[in-house]
Amino acid sequence: MSASLETQQTIRELSQEGYKYGFVSDIETDTAPPGLNEDTVRFISAKKNEPEWLLEWRLAAFRAWREMPEPEWAKVEFPPIDYQAASYYAAPRQQAAPKSLDEVDPELLRTYEKLGVPLREREILAGVAVDAVFDSVSVATTFKGQLAELGIIFCSFGEAVKEHPELVKKYLGTVVPQNDNFYAALNSAVFSDGSFAYIPPGVRCPMELSTYFRINARNSGQFERTLLIADKGAYVSYLEGCTAPQRDENQLHAAVVELIAHENAQIKYSTVQNWYPGDAEGKGGIYNFVTKRGACRGARAKISWTQVETGSAITWKYPSCILEGDDSVGEFYSVAITNNRQQADTGTKMIHIGRNTSSTIISKGISAGRGQNTYRGLVRVQPRAQGARNYTQCDSLLIGDRCGAHTVPYIEVRNPSAKVEHEATTSKISEDQLFYCRQRGLSDEDALSLIVNGFCKEVLKELPMEFAVEAQKLLAVSLEGSVG
């Protein structure tokens, strides 16, 4: 069995018995004192030895954040977050950046093994480069050499600031400006690290770029910053999959992801999200407030978001596409599951600006237990967006009678040649379908899993092979105990 399959097997086994990632590493961390003020921002910037321009950028964000009200309109409820009570920086101690895995703290490597990410094996793997983020700082980056031969840059954000400042400066904040929204501003002020990738013109990235990361230290929300640029005619597929340990206090996760696709370039961004969802009573669990946006800057650029969201206590994310280039394409495929007391308010925004742009939105929501699942989407066709096309399909499945499924689409059209179609359905798992499967010998759980997978088929088939298998298993695990 190939190494990647073994990794998946490990992950599958681990997730089979409940949330198995509930352990804590005891590496001593450099933690900033709790609280958020200008000094905190300076502390973080200094710790990372950042250049002046980046410190100023952070400070501008922080000042904007201070003036902003916390958003209230999402259909989610949560106890007020005390932003001053958390620590905004936690980095594991390390002397200098490791040149190879041999130099990495063995405790860290053991952590990754527990997670089922045997970095040692990665070199032999059939091609997945991993940028592993431990807590708030990137630790190991593999495959840099091989990618470098193609001119592809894939490294931690922090490293990119040092080695490729001109690229970072050129693109940072150009898709999600510092003052875009409350959580983006917060992230822009205190982000600690994340991933950076640049694919040069005409290059097709030969492997899927991926990242695993988790939140560890007490009360340290995680604020990753990811920036991916595909230059003219480039192609890259990026996988994001996350796990988090068992915790009592809610942990805030406010990441920002910016994608830029130039002329004829294509970025495929896939996420399988499995943050700790909170226990059956809704205690603990991650708050996932993420701003993800991609800009199709050039003609015929294409950005696809594919996500399977099964974790988090609260999810608030709208991966979006700005379709600036003529003939550019935006896609959003999503499966979101809420069980027990999870709440999700997610969707997408497709902004049609150029000519003959098109977007496709397929959203599948599954609610069980007392979960509340809301699709909130915006399709906006600007006045110059001649010939814009959008097709949206939102389907919700309700399992049990204590949960909720909501669909809130905003369709705003300012050009007569646009064609916008939206359909949404809400129903429950059909008794007839369940019985049909059971009469053929499948158990209750297998029948549910089969039907749910069928329901999500159109989305799951967009996932890269690596993730598709994990995603299917994740669906079954997330719905355990919801039927019968």
């Binding site: 499967c437 209750d444 069928g454």
Partner: protein
Amino acid sequence: MMLEIKNLHARLADGREILKGVDLSVGDGEVHAIMGPNGSGKSTLAAVLAGRDGYEVTEGSVTYRDRDLFAMAADERAREGVFLAFQYPVEIPGVNNMYFLRAALNAQRRHRGEPELDAGQFLRVVRQKLKLLDMADDLLQRAVNVGFSGGEKKRNEVFQMAVLEPRLAILDETDSGLDIDALRVVARGVNGLRTPDRSIVLITHYKRLLDYIEPDHVHVLQDGRIVQSGGKELAAELERRGYGTFAEQPEVAASA
């Protein structure tokens, strides 16, 4: 004895009693036809035997291969070899037909302690059964019953029966909605599955199906009870006289 139904009483969730004392014995390898007018309880009988929710057995017993049928959940009965060909097979979008059938077959094989079939092995089984039924293989790659015509749905049911090789097959109005050609294909398939260790119960309203699938015994179900039993000529008599003229009559011995 494959199936022994004794004094079976069953009612719907709203309290209406539909089965009012059904007695029936089905031996190994036998083909029984149950005929009756609408509302007689035919579909209820099929649903109760298959273990569908929404029905309550209030009296009586059913023994299946020496086991108490009602002690088993619906999927367990299926793994034990009970197969119901639905009158209205439901669509399951996004679920590939082949994938579904392999999952079902492997669930049954696991239950019997047999090794599961991988995709390649399963495909061989499938091709063999397809020939038996003279069925096109395009239905395989489609989602279960999605967009299937009435005839295709019924053929898919019989195809599943061929693959799963049940011990007791209950065909619920399999002939409804089929034209002569489709009926012939379905009948050929069912006939091809007649073996000494498999019993078939055909539930039907019209005699037509029985011209193609010759039963060993014919029973008339009326108002929740079996009011008459006989051989295959009973079906012809029913057609001549209609259901209205039948009342409780002593069992007429099957001829030949």
